[in-house]
Every structure is written in structure tokens, then in C-alpha cells.
């Protein structure tokens, strides 16, 4: 049973560029959430997708956007990259509904913006 998988594992970009990160949820899960973890900080909630729609969003600018596909996989897009976007981006999956509150995390994509 595959867990949450993310690609790529590492990425180096320059300021102003755009990046796309990918996530496949754990088998049987239908909800995907994205988190940003800066060095020395805890993960911060970016947004959550369910039924191919953004259901809730954290305090992140519109440069951060996402998508969920019919097979529940998801993408995170970041436009006009800033140095401050350098971080570990974590994808978490879960099953929608009350009492399904344990999130399973992938190993993340380490993004470096130069």
C-alpha cells in the first residue's frame, strides 16, 4: 500500500520563475492538503483540496495555487518565486469526513530559490 508520494524531492529555481510540485495521496484517501515548512519552523497550512475544489486556504498570497485531479492527485503551483519561498513543501492526505482526522504526510519537496 503506497503512502503519500511527492515529486520531485529537490528543486532549485531562480527568483521570478514558476514551479509545480506534485502529490499522490495514500490509497483510499480523497483529500489533499499542502503545507510549507521553512527552516526551523513548523509546517504552515497553504490550502486543501477535496472533490477537485479548493475547500480552505491559509494565509498565503495568490501566487500559490493548486489543482486536484479526478484520481485525487494534486499539484501545487507557485508563480513569481521569491527567495522567501525556499522551504520544504509537504503534502498530506486524508479521508474526508468526521473522525478521519489523522493526516498522512509525504516526504516533501525541498525547494531552493536562488
Amino acid at each position: 500500500d503506497a503512502g503519500v508520494t511527492q515529486s520531485p524531492t529537490h528543486l532549485i529555481k531562480t527568483r521570478g520563475q514558476q514551479v509545480t510540485l506534485r502529490c499522490s495521496p495514500k490509497s483510499g484517501h480523497d483529500t489533499v492538503s499542502w503545507y510549507q515548512q521553512a527552516l526551523g519552523q513548523g509546517p504552515q497550512f497553504i490550502f486543501q483540496y477535496y472533490e477537485e475544489e479548493e475547500r480552505q486556504r491559509g494565509n498565503f498570497p495568490d501566487r500559490f495555487s493548486g489543482h486536484q485531479f479526478p484520481n485525487y492527485s494534486s499539484e501545487l503551483n507557485v508563480n513569481a518565486l521569491l527567495l522567501g519561498d525556499s522551504a520544504l513543501y509537504l503534502c498530506a492526505s486524508s479521508l474526508a469526513g468526521l473522525l478521519n482526522e489523522k493526516l498522512f504526510f509525504g516526504s516533501g519537496t525541498q525547494l531552493s530559490v536562488l
Binding site: 519552523q41 513548523g42 480552505q56 482526522e101 493526516l103 516526504s107
Partner: protein
């Protein structure tokens, strides 16, 4: 704004010591408190607590939640070098009906020396 505060931020102990990690929170629509262990990249689930005063145990690790005082502790007895990691506390909350998300603290970096 939801807030989760962990203390201490870092801790160095010797093998065999017992440690207590603290987590306090201020969250609207609290549902659950979760502890994760982050060794390299992917946070791995340890415990989820929803009821006050009930201790959860798994081997040398245990955790308890106080919903009145809004805090939780994670205890690790007879520490081993393999316990070295960042321990993340997260609080789960609902907004807009069924939209669930985790708010994380900054984590406690535990180093266990032989």
C-alpha cells in the same frame, strides 16, 4: 488567529533520560491534538488525542491532553539515540462545517546523546 506553542524549542539529553515536551494552544473549534515525529522529511504520526485526561501510550512514549487548561504533554522514558528528531504538536480544527486543518507549533528538536 489559531496558535500552537511548543516548549522547549530544543533539548539535549543522555540515553536513558526521561523527557517531557510541552504544547499549549489557542484554537477556534478545537477537535483534536496530534503529535508527529519528524526525523528527516516526512512527519510520522504518533498520537491523536480528543478527550481530556486520557493518557495514550505506545511503548516508551505517552501523551495526555488537558482541554480545560489547553495543553498537552508528550513523555518519552528511557530515551534512545533513535528518539533524536523534531517532535511536532498540531491542533486539528474545523471551519465552515467539514473543513478540517492542522495548525502546527514550531516543534521541539530533541537530541539524545549516547
Amino acid at each position: 488567529e489559531d496558535k500552537v506553542v511548543q516548549s522547549p524549542l530544543s533539548l539535549v539529553v543522555h540515553e536513558g533520560d526521561t523527557v517531557t515536551l510541552n504544547c499549549s494552544y489557542e484554537v477556534t473549534n478545537f477537535r483534536s491534538l496530534l503529535w508527529y515525529k519528524q526525523e528527516k522529511k516526512a512527519p510520522t504520526f504518533l498520537f491523536m488525542l480528543t478527550s481530556s485526561g486520557i493518557e495514550k501510550k505506545s511503548g516508551r512514549l505517552s501523551s495526555i491532553l488537558d482541554k480545560k487548561e489547553l495543553f498537552s504533554i508528550l513523555n518519552i522514558t528511557a530515551t534512545q539515540t533513535g528518539d533524536s528528531a523534531i517532535y511536532l504538536c498540531a491542533v486539528g480544527s474545523y471551519s465552515g462545517g467539514s473543513n478540517y486543518k492542522l495548525t502546527f507549533g514550531k516543534g521541539t528538536l530533541l537530541t539524545v546523546n549516547p
